[in-house]
Symmetry: C2
Subunit: 327 residues, 2 copies
């Protein structure tokens, strides 16, 4: 075995192991002196349904090993996507991990954390030799389970798992005929349809306020970065396919949303108090639309969608100016 | 323990366990008669770095239990997102699992599958009692690891894990000032910017062919569903914010892309051979753009983005007509 180990690059071995996706758990117990103990672990897995058994491994170097070895009871908490910070806290030595953490009452004295995706209250059934780790197998005495989306972990990073529907999700009621090369599965189609549908939901709300989409874009830009020339506005808006004209700006001026300043050859556009208020109202509506959609998608999937859209924007960025950059 | 079990709803217990996200593995060995044996398992996990140990559990009812119990060597294959079908095949009893499966040569006689995310070639180190399962702990004799995105599993469904960058992915070079309510994190903004950027990449290619975006949409619709009235075309296109006019259709007729048939009050529009060819050329370009973006995102993330966009489209669908529906 020594020779085999010698040929092992530990970093490469870790990297290979890390490709196996896991959830993230915090495992807690109570020390003999009554103090709460907890660590973050992703080595959890289910073992047996009847009797109900689960397992996890703990490093023989872990400071908490004696406590877990001597204790009879421990709780496994499958963390939700909202508990990434808690995961980090319990993965770090020395912090007062349980400071301001609310606990529930469980079947044992082991601390029972709140707001998890699932919890398993266990009694040690076996402790097995596992090289530089001890394998703890626990009998599950009680468990519960919420709708909170679970946090995942892959290749050393937190992750959001998007479940693939068992049968492929189809927008059309019937698959297109095989000779049709246009399918709903085209990324460009999905992006366009998703965007326009969300935009139209917003547009219906905005149209009650007598403002069109172009005005929405202009006010948004000025709300982030005020006092711009027409040319500057267009550098921020042109990627949408809209071209902002002086006539369009004059229209907004007549509605007291924008003030025009400067000489005729160097006009600059400034948001009025009215304009700012309307823009913030629109933003609030956009956030309402987003919240409704997030609730329907589930917050983890909504978050994953945003992460992926940002990555898409980065890889397809033609070099748009940074709207939020300081000047 | 019997009483504890009695209070357990096995389905609820399974559901709670299932919230812990896992990867998907196929574990293989060779039977004494030389025949290959393999099963799909998600109970895998790493145990020890030095010595290098991994574990997984196998039901005591499994037909392959005697083979694994008596065999010394087995291989763990962490499956990639491309290997969902293989996972299904090895999860199903009775199929000729190894039919047409290419194998590599490994350190033992245990079958070594190809095209996986990672592979661990193991020798049994321990077999432990685990209720209705046996826990196999293996010493890793050899391993390798590719760039293929790993398949995940959560709550009984295959899943795609989107890794969250360690530090938040930012489009802007600096965070917006705290008083700015408009942030780049708005779903509507991300959808619009992502869509327009991809559309503009395509538009640049299409504009070489002297066709605008509206013509692109019209030809696409007619390519999927030919012989439509102007009103029908608009039911399919209007969600994009474009309104198709008779003048626009006459323009396409002059370019020999569309033929106009029927009486003046019942005009119908039909794609010409030229029009169909141009439309398919555009589609091919759209697929090139998509392939380039998928390569940059990684195929698993591109796939996850499409799954999430479909879900977004479903939850925000105002009731658009089904373009692909048969008539």
């Amino acid at each position: 075995m020594a020779m085999q180990n010698a040929s092992f690059d530990p970093q490469a071995f870790r990297a290979a192991l890390g490709t196996f996706t896991t959830g993230v758990t915090i495992i807690t117990t109570q020390a003999e002196d009554g103090s709460p103990v907890g660590i973050t672990a992703n080595s959890f897995n289910s073992v047996s349904l009847n009797p109900p058994l689960v397992l996890w491994s703990l490093s023989k170097n872990a400071r908490s090993l004696p406590v877990f070895s001597n204790g009879k009871h421990w709780n496994v908490h499958v963390l939700s996507t909202e508990q990434e910070k808690l995961s980090g806290r319990f993965a770090t030595q020395g912090e007062d991990k349980f400071a301001e953490v609310q606990l529930d009452n469980g079947v044992s004295e082991a601390p029972l954390l709140q707001d998890c995706t699932a919890r398993f209250q266990c009694r040690t059934a076996f402790q097995y030799e596992g090289g530089d780790h001890v394998i703890f197998v626990g009998e599950v005495l009680a468990f519960d389970h919420s709708d909170r989306a679970p946090l995942a972990f892959q290749s050393g990073q937190y992750a959001l798992a998007t479940r693939k529907p068992r049968s492929e999700l189809r927008l059309a009621t019937t698959p297109p005929p095989p000779e049709c090369s246009y399918t709903e599965d085209l990324l460009g189609y999905l992006l366009g349809r998703g965007h326009y549908q969300v935009l139209n939901t917003l547009r219906r709300m905005v149209s009650n306020q007598q403002l069109d989409e172009q005005a929405f874009f202009i006010l948004s830009v000025l709300c982030i970065r005020d006092n711009l020339s027409l040319e500057e506005i267009n550098t921020f808006v042109s990627y949408t396919g809209h071209e902002v004209t002086l006539a369009g700006m004059r229209f907004l001026e007549r509605q007291h949303l924008v003030a025009i300043e400067g000489d005729a050859d160097q006009l600059r556009f400034v948001l009025t108090a009215n304009g700012r208020e309307l823009s913030l109202q629109q933003l609030a509506l956009a956030k309402v639309v987003e919240e409704e959609l997030s609730a329907k998608l589930g917050s983890a999937d909504a978050q994953a969608l945003k992460v992926l859209l940002k990555r898409l924007i980065v890889v397809s960025d033609p070099g748009l100016p940074d709207l939020w950059a300081p000047r």
